[in-house]
C-alpha cells in the first residue's frame, strides 16, 4: 500500500516528527511504500542541515535523510512555509538574496500542490502534528 505522510511540527519541540519517523520505518519494513513525506508548518524545520543535537540524543534530520537514502523517499518541504521560517535552498537563496542556504541536500522545496497530489495518489494520508 502507498502512504503519504504530512508533518506539521519541527524537530525536538514536539514528538510529531519522531512518531512519523517510527511509523515510516515500520511501514517500509513491512513492504509498503511512501509516495511522499510532506513537511508543512513548522515541520519545514526538520529539513535544516545545521542541526547538532547532543551526542547522546537522536539526530532527527539525519535520520530522515538516511531513511530517504535507503528507500529513495521524496522528502518535500513546503515553499511558502519555508520562506516564513527561514529554510532555503539554492533557488530560494538566489531569489530572496540570501547569502547561504541551510537545507539538507536530501530534502527539496516545492509547492503545496505536492501535498494535494500526494493525498490523491496515495492510498492513505497520515498526518502528524501538535
Amino acid at each position: 500500500m502507498k502512504f503519504a505522510l504530512q508533518i506539521n511540527e519541527g524537530p525536538y519541540q514536539h514528538q510529531a516528527s519522531d512518531t512519523a519517523y517510527c511509523f515510516a520505518k515500520a511501514l517500509l519494513e513491512q513492504g509498503h511504500a511512501i509516495f511522499r513525506v510532506f513537511f508543512y508548518h513548522d515541520g519545514v524545520n526538520n529539513a535544516t542541515r545545521f542541526t547538532t543535537p547532543p551526542q547522546d540524543d537522536r539526530h532527527i534530520v539525519n535520520r530522515w535523510a538516511a531513511l530517504a537514502e535507503q528507500y529513495e523517499l521524496d522528502l518535500v518541504v513546503c515553499v511558502a512555509a519555508a520562506q516564513r521560517r527561514g529554510v532555503v535552498d539554492e533557488g530560494e537563496a538566489t531569489r530572496h538574496k540570501k547569502d547561504a542556504t541551510n537545507i539538507h541536500p536530501r530534502f527539496r522545496i516545492s509547492g503545496l500542490g505536492q501535498l494535494v497530489e500526494a493525498a490523491i495518489q496515495a492510498d492513505r494520508l497520515v498526518v502528524f502534528g501538535d
Binding site: 508548518h41 511558502a80 500542490g113 494535494v116 490523491i120
Partner: protein, 136 residues
C-alpha cells in the same frame, strides 16, 4: 495529474491568529482547488472562530486573512460545514459567521451562502464519507 476524484475533508479545529494553522490550512484549500477533487470544509471546536465576522488584526500587527474565506466560492468549494454544538458552546450563532456565496458562471446556478450549520450526526457522516482528511 490523476483522473481519480477523491472526497477531501479539511478538518479545522483551531482558532485563528493564536497559531498559524488556520491560515496555512486555508492556503492548502486554495491550492487544492486546481486539482478538481470534491472538497468539503468542516469547522468545529475552536475552528468555528475562523469564520467570525469583523476580524481586524491590525492592532496585533498581523494580516487579516478572513476576507479570503469569502472567496472560497471562486475556488470550487461548494460545501462549508460548521458544527452546531461547537457554536452553541461558544455562545455563537450563524449570524456571527461570514456569509460565503457561490456561483457557477457557466450555468448561472448560484447559492447565497454555502456555510451550513450541521448537527453532530451530520458531522460524523461527513467524516465517514471522506476519502482523505486533512488535519492542521
Amino acid at each position: 495529474m490523476s483522473e481519480t476524484i477523491k472526497k477531501f475533508l479539511y478538518l479545522n479545529r483551531k482558532a485563528p491568529y493564536g497559531t498559524i494553522y488556520a491560515w496555512e490550512s486555508l492556503e492548502v484549500v486554495l491550492i487544492g482547488a486546481a486539482f478538481d477533487q470534491e472538497v468539503n470544509l468542516l469547522f468545529m471546536d475552536d475552528g468555528v472562530y475562523q469564520l467570525t465576522k469583523g476580524q481586524d488584526p491590525s492592532g496585533i500587527g498581523m494580516k487579516n486573512f478572513s476576507p479570503t474565506y469569502r472567496t472560497l466560492g471562486d475556488y470550487e468549494v461548494k460545501n462549508i460545514f460548521v458544527d452546531r454544538d461547537s457554536l452553541a458552546a461558544r455562545g455563537l450563532t450563524q449570524d456571527d459567521l461570514l456569509q460565503i456565496a457561490w456561483e457557477d458562471l457557466d450555468t448561472d446556478e448560484s447559492v447565497e451562502n454555502i456555510v451550513t450549520v450541521v448537527d453532530a450526526p451530520r458531522v460524523s457522516a461527513l467524516m465517514d464519507a471522506a476519502d482523505v482528511v486533512f488535519s492542521f
